[in-house]
Amino acid sequence: MGSLTALPLLSTGCSDDRRAGDRSGTPSALLIPWPELLKAAHGSRVRIAMWDGDPAINRWMQGWVAEQLQQLYKIRLEFSGLRGPELVSRLLAEREAGRDPGDLDVVWINGETFYQLRRISALQGPFTQLLPNRQWIDWDDPFIANDFQQPIDGYECPWGSVQFAVIYHSERVTQPPQSLAQLTAWIHRHPGRFTWDVSFTGMTFLKSILLELSGDRQAFARPLTEALWAAASARLWDWIRGVRADLWRNGRTFPEDVSQLHLLFSGGEVDFTMSSNDGEVDNKVLQGVLPEAARGYVPEFGSIRNSHYLGMPANAPNPAGALAVIDFLISPAAQLEKARPEVWGDGSVLSPEKLTGDWRVRFASIPGRLRAPSREEMQQRALPEPAAEVMMRLVQGFRREILEGA
């Protein structure tokens, strides 16, 4: 019934300006009072595309989130497991075929995915100004306002704020390496005990090495030039070639995904794993994925801090439902639940200063981290996320220089 109610609204949403590929400007269909929008979303089906490589996240989304949305708005939340590149290529193919409406309402994205989707005008917006729960977010925070150095401009809504962390086995590694030189020496002293994955997390690790090798933490905050990339990447490839013989499997192959790296770590094949989420170590130990001896830290050379976001495809069939879901996901209740170590341990995007007293207390009472330094401590070593282009060149270069150059 709800979908039927939303029908006229959606057909207006598919007006000529959207077909022309110009996604600038909030769709007029969404410029209605929030209660009316919720009414349109009531009882509808919302499809979210998300990375499905973490059972805890999947369980939380399919369990708590789906149940809450069902109770609050009678919204039926459906899931599509799509990783960043798959999502981009899918929405690109849909744009090429002129498919409107499509079949995804909400997409979980960040960085290079956001960059590519903006490039092909596959995102709808700006929409964040429509969300009532935007009031809790500090939109001036550079780690929120910019996604991989690109202003979000209301085309995606922050959902979680995290910092990359290295995880080590405290029984096997008593003194985790702090500097790059120490890390290099450790790898050489312990052949086959270190590696990284070739997906998002591993590439984020390489970005921090890239920044360290370039000697300038702001090196990639500026527009990327060929000369800058050539010089910086050459140093990175040299470093990898220098250590590769002592990496896991002699650096000829790497885990496909961070979940595989976790498996190698818990299976005792390597002594380090990593996470894009600074709070994940507790969560993974509680789940039994990582052993009790796992500890998280940020080396002295720092680690990338960024946010992840929720966007709405330009051809979303149910934009009203999408907005209702996104608004719920940035609500204090959902953010609090998500931040609990036993649930996900994901950093909240809500600003404590903006929260009301009651919520502030609840957030403050989230059990502290047992196996990683506090968030504040880690943030002292936070590195800004380089531009999205760096990630794409890194993925491309890593494949050409390291994987194919084996």
């Binding site: 499809r47 595309a49 499905d52 490589g53 973490d54 059972p55 999947n58 369980r59 399919q62 369990g63 459906e78 899931f79 599509s80 497991g81 799509l82 899918r90 193919a93 849909e94 090429e96 075929a97 002129g98 498919r99 499509g102 079949d103 995804l104 995904d257 979940s259 595989q260 976790h262 498996l263 818990s266 299976g267 005792g268 039994g288 994925v289």
Partner: protein
């Protein structure tokens, strides 16, 4: 070594079948073992906790049951339609000769051999333009493409002069098309139709490439869930998904073993 009739007579036949069956079932038993617990840390041979976790969650969050239902409906529909279409196509192209016949054979063999995932990559645009991408019907169409080709190839084996003459006889005696199908076509092809239906149903049930590319994660089948669980490194849940995926073929094979003729006689 050469004589087929004498060499194996002495050893009890049923033990041979049972022994081979046991060997073939080792992977299934391993999956069953892994699916009965939680965790599987090295060097344990059995899961860390034999708590039946994945089986308990089967009815809750894992979505396996729903995926099995979607996959089941999809494969039965794809199997039935592919078999019907394959029969009609095999009968239509039966009379072709020379280069046209060769072209037909090539056309029917092509989907038989190409990778579904490559086909999915190349046909996604068509699916998106026709509104079939990300839909149950879209995935069904993809499966029918592969199933129909298989069915047409298999059912072309039913062609025989005797079958043709029987059909002509029914027709010349005044039988309508329905009568021809009822009294000649279906009785002649019944055995092959069964094989075909089973084969095309299984093709759909076991497919991952088309479901991934055309379904785009929206049409959740067991193969899709299994891959997702493998990516999660959820060994126990993945084992359960794999076991559910193997169940229909296991039942079909057992039925064949139990009910089929023992030997050529």
């Amino acid at each position: 070594m050469v004589n087929s009739s004498a060499a194996g007579q002495q050893s009890p036949r049923r033990y041979r079948v049972a022994a081979l069956l046991l060997v073939m079932l080792v992977p299934h038993l391993l999956l069953l073992l892994l699916s009965t617990g939680t965790g599987w840390s090295y060097p344990r041979l059995v899961p860390d906790r034999l708590d039946g976790g994945p089986w308990q969650q089967l009815f809750r969050f894992s979505g396996l049951l729903q995926a099995a239902t979607t996959g089941g409906v999809l494969s039965v529909a794809a199997g039935a339609l592919s078999t019907l279409f394959g029969l009609l196509i095999s009968r239509a192209v039966r009379g072709t000769r020379g280069a046209l016949r060769r072209l037909m054979r090539a056309l029917l063999l092509l989907p038989f051999v190409i990778s579904p995932v490559v086909a999915g990559v190349c046909v996604f645009d068509l699916a998106a333009r026709t509104g079939l991408a990300g839909s149950f019907i879209g995935v069904l169409c993809g499966h029918i493409l592969f199933g129909t080709a298989t069915a047409a190839v298999v059912l072309s084996e039913a062609a025989s002069d005797r079958a043709d003459r029987l059909e002509l006889l029914v027709r010349s005696l005044g039988g309508s098309t329905i009568a021809v199908w009822r009294h000649a076509v279906l009785p002649q092809t019944r055995g092959l139709l069964g094989v075909c239906l089973m084969q095309t149903t299984l093709i759909s049930w076991l497919d991952y490439g088309i479901v991934l590319q055309i379904g785009g994660g929206r049409v959740q089948t067991l193969t899709l869930r299994l891959f997702s669980l493998i990516r999660e490194s959820s060994v126990n849940h993945a084992a359960l998904a794999a076991l559910l995926l193997l169940l229909p073929s296991l039942v079909a094979a057992f039925l064949l073993i139990l009910t089929g003729p023992r030997s050529d006689g």
